[in-house]
Each structure stands twice: as C-alpha cells, then as structure tokens.
C-alpha cells in the first residue's frame, strides 16, 4: 500500500483524512486508486493534478513508478509562464 498525502482542501471529500492508502505501483494507479476509494476525488483529479514522488514532482507521466515506502503527495497541476 502507498500512503498518498492530500492538500487540506480535499479533506472534505475523503471523510476529513489528510492521507489515503491505495494499492499502486505507478502514478496512474495512485490516481485510479484514489478515485476508487473516494469517487468524489474524480473532479479534482480531472481538473488537473501532479503527484510528487519522493520529492520529485510528476506533472503528467502516469507510468512513473511508486513504491510502498515512497513519499507520495497529491498536488495541483503545474504549469508556468
């Protein structure tokens, strides 16, 4: 299981939790696991998210690996000027 930390604005959608555990070996599986556990997260994820894995911000690559001991943080999607 991978523990996924959420930004506090999402807590209302996940029963007040600050993190959610999902079965995942990739960033893509993290996202599908989150929606499976909490369907209300579909909207925020569709609106655009990044996933930080061990400090590296994965902006879009769903195939990036995650490990059970990885630090995984859900973030807003990154872009820039």
């Amino acid at each position: 299981m991978v523990e996924v930390q959420l930004w506090s604005g999402l807590r209302a959608l996940v029963d007040g939790k600050s993190s959610v555990q999902v079965e995942a070996k990739t960033v893509g599986e993290v996202l599908t696991g989150l929606v499976k556990a909490y369907p209300a997260l579909q909207g925020p994820i569709d609106a655009g998210v990044s996933v930080a894995v061990d400090g590296r911000i994965i902006a879009s690559a769903l195939n990036e690996p995650v490990h059970p001991d990885s630090e995984v943080v859900l973030m807003q999607r990154l872009k820039g000027g």
Partner: protein, 754 residues
C-alpha cells in the same frame, strides 16, 4: 534521465558563451516576426470590441459592414464551434478560451471581442468594424478583487464555482486552494513577535514588445495553416481545431520569431478569429493587434489582495506562517491562486504553515500566465512581513532567512520533501557579495528577498539529423523565447564533439515534428535540452556502430571522444580514429542517413530559488523612487550559456522593477481601462534601471544529465518584495500596495506624519 556525474567538471562547450544564432537575423531585420508574413491574396482582419465592462449583447447588425466595398467576411460567435460546454472551474477552459476570443451572450470586459471583419485592406477592415452595430444592455460591473467577493457584487457568470469553494462564498469565487501542515495557532503562541498585515498588487501586463499577430488560411476542405507569434504552436493547433471544429492534424501551425512572450503568448487570441474569417472568405487573413488591443484584450497577470501572518522568536526562528491570497483573473476562472498559495512559504522550513488561495472573477480581461504565475505576489507579501519582523527584532535579514531556509529533505510548505535545492547557497552568496556590505548613502534603503518557482518538464519531441559534411541540424518544437537555440546547439556540441557553429537549431512546425508542450514553466533548456542530449546520444551510438562495421569489430569496442570514433582500448584493435565527417560522408552507402530523435515527458525539472538585494532611494518631496543598485543571485543548476542565464536574471529584475514601481492596469468608474498604451502604462526603460549584477549559483539538478534547472521564471519572484523592502527602508514607512508610484509613496508618508 539522471544527472551524469562524470560531466560535472569536464564540459568543453557547455558553459561557454558563443554568439547567439538568431543575432544576425535580428540586427539586420531578416528575422520574421508574426506581422512579417505575407500570403498571396491576403485579407486584413479587424475586431469589434466592447466599450462596456459588462453588458448583454442584444443584437449585432453586420449588414452595413458587409455592404462596404472590399469587405469579404464578417464573423461572430455563430461562426465558431457550438459543441463546447461551459463547465465549473478549469474543466471549462476550452469553452472559456472560445468565450474570450469571441463573446457569446455577454460582453464581459472592456475590450471583449464581439465580431470581426476581413477586408482587402487594413483601413477598409477598420472602417467596416466601425459599421458593425451592436446593441448592448449595460449590466452592473466590478473590477476590484475584494469588491468582486462582496455580497452585493454583480455575478459575472453563475455555475462556474467548482467543488473547492467553501459554501457561502460569492459566486464570483470560482476556485479555492487550501493547504498546510502543523498547528499554526500553536506556532503563533510560541512566537515572541507576530505580525499580520494586508497587501495588494495591481494587474500588470507581460509587456512583450511584439503585438500578437498571425496570418491564417483555412479552406472549405478543412485544411488550414497558421503563422503566428506564440510560445506554443502545438497548443495553437489543438485549441484552434477545437474552437473551429477541425481535425487537429489538418491544421499546420508555424511559430514565427517571437518578440517577447513572458507567459502572455501561451494561449490564443487572434488566431482562431483569423481562421474563422479565412474559412468564410476563402482567402488568407492577417491580423495584427494594436497596442491598445494588446492591453485591453490579452492577458495581464492577476491582481491580488493578500493577508499574511508570521510569528518569529527573538532568535529569528519562524514559528508559524499563514496566508490568505485572493486573485482576480478577469471574467474567467484561472487566476493562479494555487501557485500563489503553494509558492508563498516554500523558501522556509516551517513546522506550522497554512495557505489559502481564492480565484475570483471580475469584469477584466482573462488573465494569462506571466513568468512564475502567482509567485511574485506571494513573495511580496510574505517577504515584506519577514522584513518587518527582522526590523522590529533587530535581526539581519539574510541571517534570518538562512536560519529558516528550506534545504534537501525539508518538507515543503506545499507538501513533499525537497530534493537537492540551492536556496542556502544563494543566501550565502548574497551575504558574501560586496553589495550586501556596501555602505548606503543618505536617503537610501536596502531590501532583500527570496523567491521560489517550481519549473516544469512537459511533453517534448526532438529530432536531429547529421549532414554529409559532419555538421548537424536540430529540430525542436519549443519556440525560442530566451535563447534556447543556442543552448540546444551547445548541448548537442557537447555530446557530438563538434563545434557549436556547425550545428543549426530550428523551431519546427507542427507538421514536421511530434507534439511539444508550450515554451512555459522554464522548461525549454531542461526538457528540450534533455531530449537533444538523448537524440545526440542516439546519433553517437550509430556513429560508433558505423565505425565498428568499417573496422570489423564489435560496436561495444568503439568509444566516442571529442568528435571521433576510437577503439576502446588495445584489445579492440589498432585503428586510426575516425572523425565524424569521415563517417557521415559515406553514411548513405553504409546504412543510410544518421538521425536521432527522442520523445518523452521528462519529470525531473527541479525547483529553483533566488535571493535578490536591492538598494533604492526615495525623493520624499515628489515620491519618486530610484533603484540605485541591484544584485540577483539564483541557482541555475548548470548554466548552459551563462550570458543568456544572466539575461534571464536581469530581465526578471527589470520586469520586477516595473511591476513594483510603475506598472498597473487602471480602471475608471465605468469599468474601462484608462491606460491602454505604453505612454500611460509605463514599463521601465534603460534610463530607469541600474546595472543589474548577477551571480549564477550552480547546484546541479539531479533530474537532468547536465544538472540544468529552469531559470526563466524564478528571477521575477523576489523583485517585488526586495524592492518594497528597500523602498520602505528608504521612505521610513512600510509600503503595502504595489505599484509604489509617487502618489502612493506620498500618501504613505502623509499617513505616517499624520
């Protein structure tokens, strides 16, 4: 592709400063910008714009315009896709883009496009635009972010608020980002001093010198071409196709040379309108915005209203930090409230932190990205409060920042732990710089600030081809907005071992290369550069294979050194090294053309930090301010072309000086923009600026083979705060509202003297 540790001290070309490849074209006038394209039979387009900040469009009568001799087409919203759907938050961004380039039921801001006309001359087109009669029902408007959140504010559009906004807020609040960790109230209780203050910044334009311009052709067969000034032509292709119900592949888009973008050319404005006119007229259509149109209808950055509270112990330890950031991004969702919130406290290692951002709609043009969107404003508020805490506690501002600085392993205020970062190094360099210890003259003040930006990777395709004479050409898909062609050539030269000036880098059009994300997020030197290195590696591998075949040895027994294939050692055989040109001269007969390519979404961009030092003086009689000394210290990871890196640092500081001291969108009571021109919207000119000194810190990014971090955006994060801290010290009064124009300085001085 991880950092190649073996390259750290052994660069031959990377780190040198050869002449820029586009320099000759630009100084001789040979470079072709957006407005320089001419097509046979070309028409000229002009747009009718709303004079009202908020109005229902009752009727559009185009008959008189259509009857004018020389007019070939008139378009309104009915000529664009009807399949797109308005949705909450950013889900409806494609519809928002359409609504911005051509209004539907309502005019949402002064300058909003209502209709467009194409005619045989620019003059006829402009005359015809005046003949288009629009009947409006004027509605109440709001242009101020705080007023737009008030209970009695007119609603810009119902139903756009997304899941994130707390119940009870005004419908103009469309998104919210809330984040933090620890217990801020407990943290404030531990502090010896807590300061809470309110700050505002005004909307500023990216101020690119080249107005938005394009030439577009679209036939009845659904095939089209666009030539335009853009930061991302694949995005132009994708968005225009959606707005006009076209197959993406049938639209070929070429990026012209670009006279500045700074984030403002990451979207479309005139391109879909020109295509719609062309489709109707069956002729190419050229559109060039006037400067007034650029100001009224293309994206400035968001304006802000911010509250920041920070607690500090007497020894300088920050115990807690909290910020509320309200951003007005015009009549559409998209103000970068999440970035303002996430960047605000990123430089600091905080046990207790909480940040909230609100995206608020008002009757202003749709905001567009502007270098590190959202971050400079946050830094202004946060670094001003830290400065005031240092003043009141008698602490050195750099020592305090060093004491609290984020470093590798710190849990960032936005969630994850940092990889290797260079903030501490920038602070140490700033502290050691002669500027920091230089005496100040009477009436001068010194300010310091840190700044942070994420940087980005993004979808990237690169192709590279060898010529028979051993020279190389590179095709990238990221428009060159900051010298990237030079950087690409340097990185390819490093890998191939051939001189920089034997490599030509071209920005390919959308029909010639795979998809490339926009040149944004300071991503080009990082992501396109990484793809260039990988493409060059593929070519080297093939060159070695060809040499091995010639020598009849195993390919693994050949190494590549400084432009030559060589046997890897005595056991591989005794052969004279083969120069690259000897291999490419016969490539057609030894297996065919030698090319390399690479496609990926690199995900190791690496965040970056900067520390700025500013000296300013204030004339207390007139309120005039002058920046007298400026030093930028920033982590570049690895500077591929240090002169270009310095240029990015200086450019960020220069734009920051304008943002801090002069630039602002000024709206009248009628909701109309009062200063839509460079005479009244004053960007800094050379005589306003001091020499901007630069220090390039190089803490390699572990996510790039040469250690590159993006440098284009971080440089605009600290200036607002560093200048405000310097001006506040010089004036003897805390400046909380930007720009610090003479009237604002005098008002602050008057308020202080009572």
């Amino acid at each position: 592709m991880a950092l190649d540790g073996t390259k750290d001290t052994a660069f031959k070309y990377v780190g040198t400063t050869p002449e820029r490849p586009d320099g000759f074209d630009k100084v001789t006038g040979r470079a072709r910008f957006g407005a320089d394209m001419i097509a046979p039979g070309m028409l000229f387009g002009s747009i009718v714009r709303s004079p009202h900040a908020h109005a229902r469009i009752v009727k559009i009568d185009t008959s008189k315009a259509e009857a004018l001799d020389g007019v070939k087409a008139v378009v309104t919203r009915a000529d664009f896709s009807s399949a797109l759907e308005c949705k909450p938050g950013m889900d409806g961004e494609i519809w928002n883009t359409l609504e911005n380039v051509m209004a539907g039921e309502k005019a949402l801001y002064d300058g909003h496009a209502i209709a467009a006309v194409a005619a045989t001359s620019n003059l006829i087109a402009r005359d015809a635009a005046k003949l288009i009669e629009v009947e409006y029902e004027i509605l109440p408007h709001v242009t101020d972010v705080d007023l737009a959140m008030a209970d009695d504010a007119p609603v810009i559009r119902e139903g756009v608020t997304d899941y994130s906004v707390p119940k009870g807020m005004h419908p103009n609040v469309v998104r919210c980002h809330d984040q933090g960790h620890g217990d801020v109230e407990a943290g404030f209780a531990e502090a010896d001093l807590v300061i809470e203050d309110h700050f505002t910044t005004e909307a500023t334009h990216q101020g690119y010198i080249e107005p938005n311009a394009c030439v577009a052709t679209l036939g009845a067969d659904g095939k089209g071409e666009v030539w335009c000034s853009t930061q991302g032509h694949w995005n132009v292709q994708k968005v225009c196709a959606a707005l006009l119900d076209l197959e993406t592949s049938q639209l070929r888009v070429t990026a012209s040379e670009i006279g500045g973008g700074f984030g403002g050319k990451t979207t479309v404005f005139v391109e879909p309108v020109a295509l719609a006119l062309s489709r109707k007229a069956n002729k190419p259509v050229k559109m060039v915005m006037t400067r007034a149109e650029v100001f009224r209808a293309t994206g400035p950055t968001a304006s802000t209203s911010m509250d920041v509270k920070i607690g500090m112990k007497k020894d300088g330890t920050i115990t807690a930090a909290k910020g509320v950031f309200r951003l007005q991004g015009g009549a559409f969702p998209g103000a970068p409230c999440e970035f303002t919130a996430m960047c605000a406290f990123a430089p600091y290692n905080l046990a207790n932190v909480h940040q909230t951002g609100y995206d608020v709609m008002s009757n202003r043009p749709k905001q567009a990205a502007y270098r590190a969107p959202g971050s400079p404003m946050a830094a202004f508020a946060v670094e001003s409060v830290i400065d005031e805490l240092c003043n009141q506690l008698g602490l050195d501002p750099i020592d305090v920042r060093l004491k609290n600085a984020s470093h590798e392993g710190t849990r960032a205020s936005y969630g994850p732990k940092f990889e290797r970062i260079g903030l501490v190094e920038t602070l140490e360099e700033a502290k050691a710089h002669p500027h920091y210890s230089a005496p100040l003259a009477e009436g001068q003040g010194r300010g310091v600030s840190c700044g942070f930006w994420f940087n980005h990777g993004g979808e990237t395709s690169v192709s590279m081809a060898m010529s028979e004479d051993g020279s190389a050409q590179i095709m990238v898909g990221t428009p060159d907005i900051g010298g990237s062609r030079a950087s690409m050539a340097l990185m390819a030269a490093e890998v191939l071992g051939i001189p920089y000036d034997t490599i030509r880098c071209t920005i390919a059009d959308t029909a010639s290369l795979g998809y490339n994300e926009i040149s944004h997020g300071s991503r080009v030197t990082y992501a396109s550069g990484l793809a260039v290195i990988k493409s060059a590696n593929a070519i080297v591998k093939e060159l070695c294979r060809r040499a091995a075949a010639k020598w009849d040895i195993d390919a693994d027994a050949v190494i590549w050194e400084d432009g030559y294939a060589k046997p890897s050692g005595p056991n591989a055989g005794d052969f004279e090294p083969l120069h690259i040109a000897e291999i490419t001269a016969t490539m057609g007969a030894t297996g065919g053309p030698i090319n390399g390519h690479f496609e990926a979404t690199p995900e190791g961009a690496g965040v970056s930090f900067a520390t700025h030092i500013v000296d300013a003086e204030v004339d207390k009689e007139t309120g005039a301010t002058k920046v007298v000394r400026y030093t930028v210290v920033q982590d570049a990871g690895k500077a591929i072309h240090p002169t270009y890196v310095e240029g990015q640092y200086q450019g960020g500081a220069a734009q920051g000086i304008g943002w801090a001291l002069n630039e602002e969108y000024i709206y009248g009571e009628d909701g109309r923009l009062q200063n839509a021109g460079f005479l009244d919207y004053r960007i800094p000119v050379a005589s306003d600026l001091p020499m901007i000194d630069t220090v390039i810190v190089e803490v390699p990014n572990p996510g790039h083979p040469f250690g590159v971090r993006g440098v284009g955006e971080t440089s605009i994060c600290p200036p607002l705060a560093a200048i405000a801290n310097a001006v506040s010290a010089a004036a003897g009064v805390r400046m909380r509202n930007l720009p610090m124009s003479p009237p604002r300085i005098l008002a602050a001085l008057d308020a202080k003297s009572g």
